[in-house]
């Protein structure tokens, strides 16, 4: 995967550069018009965000229970990317909401769950940063709780929301926005994969450098 990172980054940069034209050419959505086009960035970002959560959770599990040191690098990279793509999702979401429904924030199940998941990633990164040595295991443990919680958070927020009168409904995935959607999706996926691999590799190398440094003056 490492050899693909450069072509991935170049390709995704190029695709993201031309994406405004492609999105512009896409048909207007019936109810929301131009504003809906944020969706082409919002949706892939959201998917990458969830993917980051999955990768973080799985690797935290492998690190904690199978003692695989490399899994920790992947988990950390996934958490940081989760913060990045989550931020993208949480910024594009309200932008869309503002224009479509007139409010910046709606306590919609998906947005709320995303915010909570984003905060869990934030907690993970804070713990790694300020937890001192040995915080890898602690954050891995915490990540397990966070990721396992995602379905619960979504479900409970969903039920909570339906108790309140609805002022708007987030549209379900439209099926006929084909080309621009898959185009942006591909660009985001490549970007995500490339960044994940780079960051994880960086972390693996940092660990190796530290180990080598420690061996330096051994007899």
């Amino acid at each position: 995967m490492r050899t693909l990172t450069t072509p991935f980054i170049v390709l995704s940069a190029g695709m993201l550069f031309v994406s405004p034209w492609i999105i512009n050419a896409a048909p207007y959505e019936s109810t929301m018009g131009l504003v809906q086009k944020v969706f082409y960035f919002h949706f892939p970002a959201a998917i990458m965000f969830l993917l980051a959560a999955l990768i973080c959770g799985v690797n935290s599990f492998r690190f904690l229970f199978f003692r695989k040191q490399s899994a920790d690098g992947w988990a950390l990279a996934a958490a940081e990317l989760g913060l990045l793509f989550g931020a993208l999702t949480l910024v594009t979401g309200p932008l869309w909401a503002r224009k479509a429904w007139g409010v910046w924030w709606v306590w919609d199940p998906r947005l709320t769950s995303s915010l909570l998941l984003w905060m869990i990633f934030g907690a993970y990164v804070l713990l790694r940063q300020y937890g001192g040595p040995g915080s890898e295991r602690l954050s891995a443990g915490m990540a397990l709780f966070g990721m396992l919680n995602v379905p619960f958070i979504y479900y409970s927020v969903n039920v909570w929301r339906t108790l309140h009168p609805q002022t708007s409904v987030v549209p379900t995935l439209p099926t006929d926005m084909g080309i621009p959607l898959w185009f942006c999706f591909a660009a985001f996926s490549m970007l995500f994969t490339a960044l994940l691999t780079l960051r994880a590799t960086l972390e693996h190398q940092r660990v190796r450098v530290e180990a080598l440094y420690l061996l330096e003056d051994e007899v």
Binding site: M119, L126, R137, L138, M142, F145
Partner: protein
């Protein structure tokens, strides 16, 4: 195997309660803190002498969550003081049993605090706490148990970390949101003018399920996370 697990958990819990009964430090400070939280929120929210509907449940659970975080921090701080946590980890006992004992001790403490908090909230907001006592008790117990289950694990994890006082809430609150939602909505359903009993039962069910999942996860992860 189960026998020794229960035995160890029981003794750890008993020890914690004995220590607490002697000093009463955590109980009193947590209780007064919880009462202060209720008052502060009341002043913040009550307008022209009347509280908006539904706010009693919210205030109750916010107080529980804030006070609970404080209590967990304190009980583990005590173990850190004479490094007794090390002695516990060193014992040939099943380590998850130690977690369980600490969890149960904390739960009992919190339930005591809630026993005082509930009448207070009822008084201040005319909440009908005696309408469905069984449901309310179950709701509070299941919710507090879930909150304490995750909190005990995190507090234990953070015992040797420098910024543990601020990191504990940062880690704990996002993850216990389902507990908060279920607790508040369930309690609100019971406090309504026309109580919604099936709704309360739904939330109790969800809480019990959540508790089962996360206590299991905590028992699993306690040992790997506590070994340095």
């Amino acid at each position: 195997m189960i026998g020794s697990f229960l035995r160890v958990a029981w003794h750890v819990m008993r020890k914690d309660l004995t220590v607490e009964v002697r000093s009463r430090e955590v109980l009193f400070t947590t209780l007064f803190f919880a009462v202060s939280v209720v008052l502060v929120f009341s002043f913040a929210i009550v307008r022209e002498g009347r509280a908006p509907d539904d706010v009693a449940a919210g205030i109750l659970w916010v107080a529980i969550s804030f006070a609970g975080t404080l209590a967990m921090g304190r009980t583990f701080e005590r173990e850190r003081y004479n490094d007794t946590l090390r002695a516990l980890i060193l014992a040939p006992a099943d380590r998850p049993a130690i977690y369980m004992g600490k969890l149960l001790g904390l739960l009992l403490l919190m339930l005591l605090v809630e026993a005082v908090l509930l009448p207070l909230v009822a008084l201040l907001f005319s909440a009908p706490i005696l309408a469905f006592p069984v449901h309310l008790t179950l709701l509070l117990t299941a919710g507090t148990f879930g909150f304490c289950a995750v909190g005990t694990l995190f507090a234990a994890m953070l015992v040797r970390v420098r910024s543990r006082d601020t990191l504990l809430p940062v880690l704990l609150y996002p993850i216990t949101i389902p507990v908060m939602i279920a607790g508040v909505r369930g309690t609100a359903a019971l406090f309504q003018a026309a109580p919604d009993e099936p709704m309360a039962r739904f939330w109790i069910g969800l809480l019990v399920f959540w508790d089962a999942v996360f206590v299991t996860l905590a028992l699993w992860t306690f040992e790997p996370v506590m070994t340095e």
